[in-house]
Each structure stands twice: as C-alpha cells, then as structure tokens.
C-alpha cells in the first residue's frame, strides 16, 4: 500500500488535498490546512521581488482565513466560478526541525459555466509547512503571481 503519512509523499499529498479542497469549492475546509498562527498572502511578483509588502490579500491568522471564508460565502457579492488548480510537484528548498520549506508552480483555471475556461492566475507557491500531530499544516503560504493584471477580481483563495 502507499504510505501517504510520511516524507515527501505526505508533502505531495498536502498539496493535492489543498487543491482538491479549493477546486471542490469547499471553502469552509480551507482554513484547516493552516496553523492557528499563520500567514496567507496573494501578492504580485513585482512587489515580492522588490520587497514591497503590499498584497492583494494578506491574512495573518487562521481567524482571518475564517473571516475571508465568511466574506466569500455571505458578503462578497460575485459571479460564482469554478477553480481548477494545476500544481507542480513541490520542490523542497529546506528542512529545519519540524518545518519544511517548499515551493511549487501553480496554474489556476477559472470557469464560469456559460463561458469558456480561461487561465485565471499563474504563479508560485512559497510555503513553510510544519509537521504536527494532525499532519502537515501550512505556517505560511505565499501565492506569488506573475502578471500584474487580474481579471477583475479574486474572490476565492488560490
């Protein structure tokens, strides 16, 4: 049998589960991929490279992630869409104690049911992942996207 509970397989599995969660539109499940004290950021590459802090979404705790989910489900009036995440195999850039640093390229396709599927957001995840009793959790996930243009709005997490 495949052992998904340890090592690189566990890491790959975390990435797969995260993508599946968002692709299913299971936003309530999204914060559980993170530690209580965590960081989530969607930031243009230009700002990241120039060390300019402004991000289009910057959340600093699991509570803030839950608040975002409430916004998505209840207050942010928007045209619903499907997401489809295509994520490369994670590239481990460091391991220190119980933390892994890794990166992966991502491509998010957006589909509105009455329109053709389109490339929505393309970039790189830069992650710090901690091993906990509940499995691997993100301490931080930065979504650094390449284009400075966004197709109107980003409502859901990437």
């Amino acid at each position: 049998m495949l052992d998904m509970s340890d090592g690189y397989m566990a890491l790959q599995n975390l990435y797969c589960d995260y993508s599946a969660c968002l692709d299913e539109g299971n936003f309530e499940g999204w914060p559980d991929f993170f530690l209580e004290e965590c960081e989530y950021r969607i930031q243009p590459r230009e700002n990241y490279q120039r060390k300019l802090p402004l991000s289009i979404m910057w959340l600093e705790s699991k509570g803030m992630l839950k608040d975002r989910v409430y916004g998505i489900c209840e207050t942010l009036y928007h045209d619903p869409y499907y997401q489809r995440h295509i994520v490369s195999a994670p590239r481990v850039t460091g391991v220190e104690g119980n933390e892994i640093r890794s990166e992966a390229n991502y491509l998010v396709l957006r589909t509105k049911r009455d329109e053709f599927s389109e490339i929505f957001n393309v970039g790189r995840y830069i992650d710090t992942i901690r091993s906990t009793a509940d499995g691997l959790k993100f301490r931080s996930r930065l979504c650094i996207f390449d284009s400075e243009l966004i197709k109107n709005s980003i409502i859901y997490p990437i």
Binding site: E60, D67, G71, E74, T75, L76, Y77, L149, N152
Partner: protein, 190 residues
C-alpha cells in the same frame, strides 16, 4: 462592511457646479441594526463578528477633520479615496471599447510610524481586486456591463435614484454618475 460604510450612514455627496467632479464623504457611526435603506440588502449582516479584528483596528487621524470615508472622483478617470486608515487611488485607463484597466495604488505618508504603516497594510485588505469592500464593486460593474450589452439592437437605461443629478442625502443612488456623464456628453458635444 463592519459598519465602515453603510447606505444609512450620514453621508454627504458633493459635486462641483458642472457635475464633473464629485465626492462622497461619510462618517462611521455606532449605528445598530439596519434602517430602511439596508432592508433587502442581501449582504447586510447584522450579527456579524470577525474572528480577528486587526483588519479593522482603526486609529483616527487629525487630518480627517471628521469624515471616516471620503471618495473623491476627479473627472475623467481618477478616484482618490480614504477609508479609515487605508488610502488609495483608482485610475481608469480605457483599453478600447468594452474594456479598461483599473489601476490601484495604495499609499501612506512618509512620516507614518511602523504601527501606522502596518495598519494601512492590514486595512488594504478592504481594497484592491480581492478587497472586502471593493471586489464586489468590480463584479457588479461586470454584471451591469454584460446585461447592457446583451442585445446590440436595443439600448438599456439604468436609473437608480431618478434621471437627474440633483442632491440626494444617501449613497444608494447614481446621481453623481449621471452628473459626470452629463458633463462628458457636453464636452464631447453629444
């Protein structure tokens, strides 16, 4: 959102005499519940409470001189805005018919202390393409545009709040928009 800006707040709409520039100034109040204007607004959530309130850790600044929100529209394509401690500009750059770039620039002051700089960055979550306050503006504009263009052989008229651009004391109206277009038509000689 968070009582920061609501349709039933005391708001002033100011226009220059030609209707080309406008400003909406509003003050955050300890309003409870929803008044007449918020009835039927799906996104108005009375009992909402945040898990993490750092995003709305607001510190009044002396230069506000009262209003907590000011949205200044400068003809033809610039919006300069203050919402609490968040400051930004939105610039509209046409890309031909049916499309435009919407350019967000957030800014602070050179003499902001690190606390204030951090506060402005946190409050920036309200604005921009994913912002709690602004993301649905963009979505709604897209809905509107799509519905107006649905049938090329007909035209569509949207007239929220009437057909003129005279005064109105609340913000659920398109008076200022009509004022701007009236001026635009005039100088375009349409």
């Amino acid at each position: 959102m968070f009582g920061l800006i609501r349709g039933d707040q005391k708001s002033r709409i100011i226009m220059d005499e030609h209707g080309r520039h406008g400003a909406m100034a509003s003050t955050r109040e300890a309003t409870k519940g929803g008044g007449e204007v918020t009835k039927g607004l799906h996104s108005f959530k009375q009992g909402m409470k945040l898990h993490d309130e750092r995003i709305i850790d607001i510190k009044p600044e002396p230069w506000w001189n009262g209003p907590t929100v000011v949205m200044l529209t400068l003809f033809p394509n610039l919006i300069v805005q203050q919402q609490s401690n968040s400051m930004s500009t939105r610039q509209i750059m046409p890309r031909g018919s049916g499309a435009f770039d919407f350019i967000w620039t957030h800014f602070g002051f050179e003499d902001d202390d690190p606390d204030m700089a951090l506060r402005r960055l946190r409050q920036a979550n309200m604005f921009g393409p994913a912002g709690y306050v602004s993301a649905d503006d963009g979505e709604v504009l897209e809905f509107c545009q799509e519905s107006y263009e649905r049938d090329s052989s007909r035209s569509t008229l949207a007239e929220q709040g009437g057909r003129d651009w005279s005064g109105s004391n609340h913000v659920i109206t398109e008076n200022v928009l009509r004022g701007m277009y009236a001026y635009w038509r005039k100088i375009m000689e349409i």
